[in-house]
Each structure stands twice: as C-alpha cells, then as structure tokens.
C-alpha cells in the first residue's frame, strides 16, 4: 500500500509579531515549522503503518521554495520513507486550486496512492480548500475533519470525523483523501537522533513543472482561478469596557449599556 502525506512549511505562528504601524505580519527572521495539522496527518500515517501487517510506503509531498526541504527532512525523521519537494519558480503565487492541481499531478505521477493524507488547513492561509480540491482533481472520495483513523486495509479506511453535532465513524473505499485535524492534547512524535541521521539516507527528490507535465501557464499565479485584490488587517478593536462591580450592580450596568447602544 502507499500513503501520500501532503505537508506545508509555514511560519511559526508562536514567533510571529505584528508591525504596529502597518498592522502586517513581520515575516523576516521568523522560523518556519511543519504545519501542525500536516504533522498530525503524518503521525497518523506512521502509526497506521506501524500497526498494520501490510507493506506500506509513506511518501511525504510538499510544494514550496527550496528551503521547504527542511520540513520534508523532518517528515523523513518522523517516519516517512521517501520525500518529494515540488519546487519551481512557475509554482509561485498559486491559489488553492493551482496548488491542488500541482499536488494532484504529483500524486498521480507517484502513482498507486491508496490514502492521501492532508492537514485540515494550513496555519498561514486557513482556507481548508486544498485537500478537498486535490480529491476533486483526482476524482476520489474525501473525508474532512478527521480526528482518528481506526483501521485501514487495501480496500477501505475507517475514520472518526468531527461534525457540528459531535463525531461520526465513516467507512470509505480506497483510494481516498482524508483531511486531518488533531484534538487538544495531541503530542506529535519527537524524532530521535538516530531517526534524524537515518533521514539523511532516505530518498529525497525535487520535481519541477517539467517533471509534472503541462504548460507553465497551468501552474502558479497564471494557473490560479482566484485573484487577490487586497490584503489587509482588520481595524484594531477600540478600547473595551471592563465592568468590575458586585454582580447585581454589574448586571444593571450591562443592561444600561445594552440599552444605550440600542441592543436591547
């Protein structure tokens, strides 16, 4: 069997600071990390491989600049068997659809994917569109908001999926795409030194648009269906009101506030 895990290198949001004058994110000097939901998806894939009697290959796949190799090296240390970075100037500026097309073509080129694992969304864009679009591009079923994978064999996968009402368990035929999200308390695997050194010896490849086929105009900004008109930060919130009184007085003050504002 073959699992393909799509991952993205994103800015470490715990280190991000905002420029007070422009309100934009300061990207310079911010370290990059593996997107947390993608790391969770990889952890799921590795655990399944360890538990399974099947012969499973895990391929980590990413699209990004050359430095995204760092994220893939970590994937190899965590347990991926092989890693491929899709890196090419023509991939730059891709929207979610162009990204999905690029990843989808790579997945087809790798071939024989039984499960495509993806993170539910990336912490830098938060669109949650790429996974479903990859599934659409490939014409395979999709499961989103997956928090657990109970079992997998060469025929089907059984997943636990979060819904607005709670959780449901779903059995789905293969091949399929599952978009994963971890619940609070998840602790990712910490690769040890031996695994990190072993990662150096695993297969790592870089593919460009010629490897995937098609015209350059089908990728990146040119291949994108959406147009970004403007990026801006929402205006800062005004100074709030803190009601710091005994409960009865506080409630009365709140009611008065709502009445004054025309809310009540």
């Amino acid at each position: 069997m073959r699992f393909i895990v799509c991952v993205k290198q994103v800015p470490d949001t715990t280190e991000v600071e905002v420029d007070e004058e422009t309100g934009t994110i300061i990207r310079e000097g911010v370290p990059s990390v593996l997107n947390a939901f993608d790391e969770f998806a990889l952890n799921l894939a590795v655990e399944l491989k360890e538990k399974s009697d099947e012969n499973i290959e895990i391929v980590a796949l990413s699209m990004g600049p050359p430095q995204a190799k760092e994220a893939l090296t970590k994937c190899l240390a965590i347990g991926a068997d092989r890693a491929i970075l899709l890196t090419d100037r023509v991939f730059a500026g891709a929207d979610t659809w162009a990204t999905a097309v690029t990843l989808g073509r790579a997945i087809k080129k790798i071939g024989d994917a039984d499960v495509v694992f993806m993170g539910q969304e990336a912490s830098d864009g938060n669109t949650a569109q790429v996974g479903p679009e990859v599934a659409a591009h490939m014409g395979i079923p999709q499961l989103t908001f997956v928090t657990e994978v109970d079992s997998v064999n060469s025929d089907h996968v059984v997943c636990k999926k979060e819904t607005d009402e709670g959780f449901v368990s779903i059995k789905c035929e293969l091949p399929s795409m599952i978009a994963c999200m971890h619940t609070p308390g998840f602790e990712p695997r910490i690769p040890n030194i031996r695994e990190i050194m072993k990662a150096k010896r695993k297969t790592y490849e870089e593919w460009n648009h010629e490897d995937l086929g098609g015209e350059p105009s089908e990728y990146g900004l040119d291949g994108s269906e959406s147009v970004v008109i403007r990026t801006y930060s929402p205006p800062p919130k005004g100074e709030g009101i803190i009601v710091d009184d005994e409960p009865e007085t506080a409630v009365n003050r709140l009611i008065q506030f709502f009445e004054d504002e025309g809310i009540l």
Partner: protein, 423 residues
C-alpha cells in the same frame, strides 16, 4: 521557554536544526525549567525517567560509531546537542552527567574497550540503562598526577587494584542503575620527572567485589547528579578489562578530557544563552523609576557584554569541534601518507583548555550579573539564576580540570615547555 530568542541557527546543518528542535520539544514536555530547579533542590540520583528519555532521544555518546551502537555523529553535532542540553538545564547536572561524563568519556572508553565492555556497559549506557564515567581524582592528587596512590598489580590473568577515588560524578547513579568507571592506577614504578608514565586505565564495574562507594558529597550546586567516590580493596579485574595498552593510561585520559571539555564548553554556551534570554524577558518588563530595567545603561551594557562574549565563545566552540573532527578524521594519516596531521594534539588541547577555562566562567558571571539585575527575585529559586550560578561554579573550580590547570596548558603551548610552572 524564554520569549526573548538569542540563538542563531543559520550556521547549523539541517540535521543539527532537527536535533535542536527534538531536544527542545522533549524538554518542554519532560524537563521544563521549574523541574530543573526542583530536581536541583531534591538532589540525586538523577531521575530515571529523564535518564531513559535522554537515551531514547539518542543524545548520549552520539559520537560512538553506528556499528557499535552509537549514532556516528561528529563532534560539531555532539557540541550542538551539548549546547542545547546546557540551555535546557542551566543547573548543568545534565550537561555534567550525560554530556561530559557519559558522552566524552563513554566515547573514549568505547575506543579502548573490548567487545564485552562495549556490549555490557557502553551500549546500555547509550540507551540510558546504565551509567559509565571517569574516576581519576584521588584524595591526594587530581591534576597532580605525581601524587596518585592507586595501584594495580598483575596476578595471573587478573589485575588487583587498590586505592581510593574521590570527587567522582555519578556514583549514586551508577549504583542505582548499574554501570562502571574508567579508573587510572599506577602499574609500574614512578618515573622521576615523568610521573604520568606507568599509569594504566581499567574499566571497573561499580558492583565489583571490593569496590565500596563512599558517602556522596553535599555540593553547592548541580545537585541532581551525585558527586562521590569509592574505595578499592583487592579488586580483581580481568586482563581484558584493561583499556588500551599497559602504561598508556595517562595519554588516553588526556584524550578523554579533551572530549569531555569540548562538551562542557559547549554546554556552558547554552547555559549563558538561556540565562541571557530569561534575564532579557525580565529586564524588558520590570520597571523602576518609570522605565524598564533594560533601558538603564548600567544593565544594558553588562547584558550586551555578556551576549558578545557568548557569541564569541560559540564561535570558539565551533572551531574547536572542527579541530577535534579533523583529529579523528586524520587518525593514522601520518602512518598512511607520511604527511603531518593538520593539528598537533597538543595544539588542539590548547584550544580545548581555552574554552574549558573561559566559558564556564562566562556562564557563572552571567548568572551573577543576572542576579544583580533582578535583585531579590534573581537570588530566589523562583528564577533559574541562583541554581545556574551554583551549578556552573563546579566547572569553574574543577570538574573535568580546574581553570588554573587549563591556564598551564595554554601557557605551555604559547610560551613553551621551559615555562611550565610544575612538572
């Protein structure tokens, strides 16, 4: 972890960046700063869950070749790990036990040991299941090898060892989980003017009949790992437990010290960086007379001076680790090619002595400064500074060679042998 970040990873390899990430993630879960402070207060032996955790991470004796159970790291890799260990545990107990003692000495034991010692002691120690270290200091002499009293006499296919070793790291840990020590004894007559001759090294398991551990010391700091000693009374050690060749123990010991001292220097860089980061968080927020402490030049300039020294020290450690890698890469080079090696071992020893003498003092002085910046808060165990101050002092006064001995080595290599104060 501190919010102010002073590390610069851009000169690390991809793998070294991942070592760092893994260690910091592990520490966040298992060894946050408040646990380091608590461990230091509670005392030894070093907690078993952390010993095992370090073993599982693969950080102990990473420089042992892969085919013998290690990770096959180079000294630059291992120094990077030691730096992060110091950063995680500025009380320096982890850096003492698992970086300097186990890694520096374990690597050297592995080089000169037979297969049985490697399998029974070195490889379990790599996994965190046993503790191995060095026992060279004696009640009458440490740096002063001429006054070593421990002896070894051959009896058939065994050696009989007698004497006492003291100020030994990790004896309680070795008793607790099993292990043993590299022990130097005199196996021939003392040679006038060359007291280092006729010293032989043996591996002595701590549970060997005739080995009696002495009461551990109540040290000022680095308290979560023990300092103790043991008495040897007619301890019978098989011939195969001799490390290397008879009479060459002193030279092997100097090699072991070189390896351990690199890791001490690197750990002390990590300690200094952590102290500066923790202090920066405080002095940027704490206000007196209407402005943050960091805005006072008296504090800011001291901070900047320590930071500059820390970065200079880091570069020195990088150079020294590279030199040591070259030394081992070129082993046997002279015999094979007839060309001299890039560095003479004594030249490398000079650089290693410079970092061993300088960087623990930098860490101790930084802790001292930070306590002054923070005032009463810095003096309390609510912050790491007093724990670190007491811990790194152990590397200023002695452990792995006192500062003045390092200066003698540096003086010998710069001014010449004629100016060595003692022989």
């Amino acid at each position: 972890m501190a919010r102010t970040k002073l590390s610069d990873d851009r000169d690390l390899t991809e793998e070294q960046k991942l070592f760092k990430e893994s260690l910091l993630d592990w520490a966040e879960r298992n060894m946050p700063l408040d646990r380091v402070i608590k461990m230091n207060r509670e005392g030894h032996p070093y907690p078993k869950d952390l010993t095992k955790g370090l073993g599982d991470l693969g950080v102990i004796m990473g420089t042992v070749p892969e085919e013998r159970g290690g990770m096959g790291l180079n000294w630059k890799d291992q120094a990077t790990i030691a730096d992060i260990i110091g950063y995680i545990d500025p009380s320096i107990a982890t850096a003492a036990g698992f970086m300097a003692v186990e890694t520096g000495w374990g690597f050297t034991i592995d080089r000169y040991a037979n297969e049985e010692i490697r399998k029974k002691y070195v490889q379990p120690a790599i996994r965190g299941d046993k503790f191995i270290g060095i026992a060279t200091t004696e009640p009458g002499g440490g740096s002063d090898v001429a006054n070593f009293k421990c002896t070894g006499e051959k009896d058939g296919d065994e050696w009989v060892l007698n004497g006492e070793k003291t100020f030994i790291s990790g004896v309680e840990e070795a008793k607790d989980i099993g292990g043993g020590y590299w022990v130097n004894v005199r196996t021939g007559d003392k040679v006038p003017g060359a007291a280092h001759k006729n010293m032989t090294a043996f591996f002595v398991p701590i549970d060997t009949e005739g080995v009696t551990p002495t009461e551990p010391y109540d040290d000022a700091g680095r308290n979560s790992i023990s300092t103790g000693g043991f008495i040897m009374e007619d301890v019978r050690i098989p011939e195969e437990y001799m490390l290397g060749e008879e009479g060459k123990g002193f030279y092997y010991t100097m090699e072991g010290f070189d390896n351990a001292r690199i890791l001490i220097g690197s750990s002390a860089v990590g300690v200094t960086r952590r102290l500066l980061e923790e202090a920066a968080d405080y002095i940027k927020e704490r206000k007196t007379f209407g402005r943050p402490l960091a805005k006072y030049e008296a504090i800011q300039f001291e901070f900047v001076e320590r930071y500059t020294e820390m970065e200079a020290s880091r570069l020195m450690v990088n150079k020294v680790a590279d030199m040591q890698d070259t030394r081992y890469d070129e082993e046997g080079w002279l015999e094979r090619t007839g060309k001299p090696q890039t560095y003479k071992p004594t030249e490398i020893a000079k650089w290693i002595s410079m970092i061993k003498y300088k960087i623990p003092h930098l860490a101790k002085d930084t802790a001292d400064d930070a306590m002054h910046w923070l005032g009463a808060a810095g003096y309390s165990s609510e912050y790491i500074f007093e724990t670190a101050w007491r811990g790194v002092m152990s590397y200023c006064v002695g452990a792995e060679g006192g500062a003045n001995i390092q200066k003698i080595v540096i003086g010998r290599e710069t001014l010449g042998k004629d100016y060595v104060p003692y022989k």
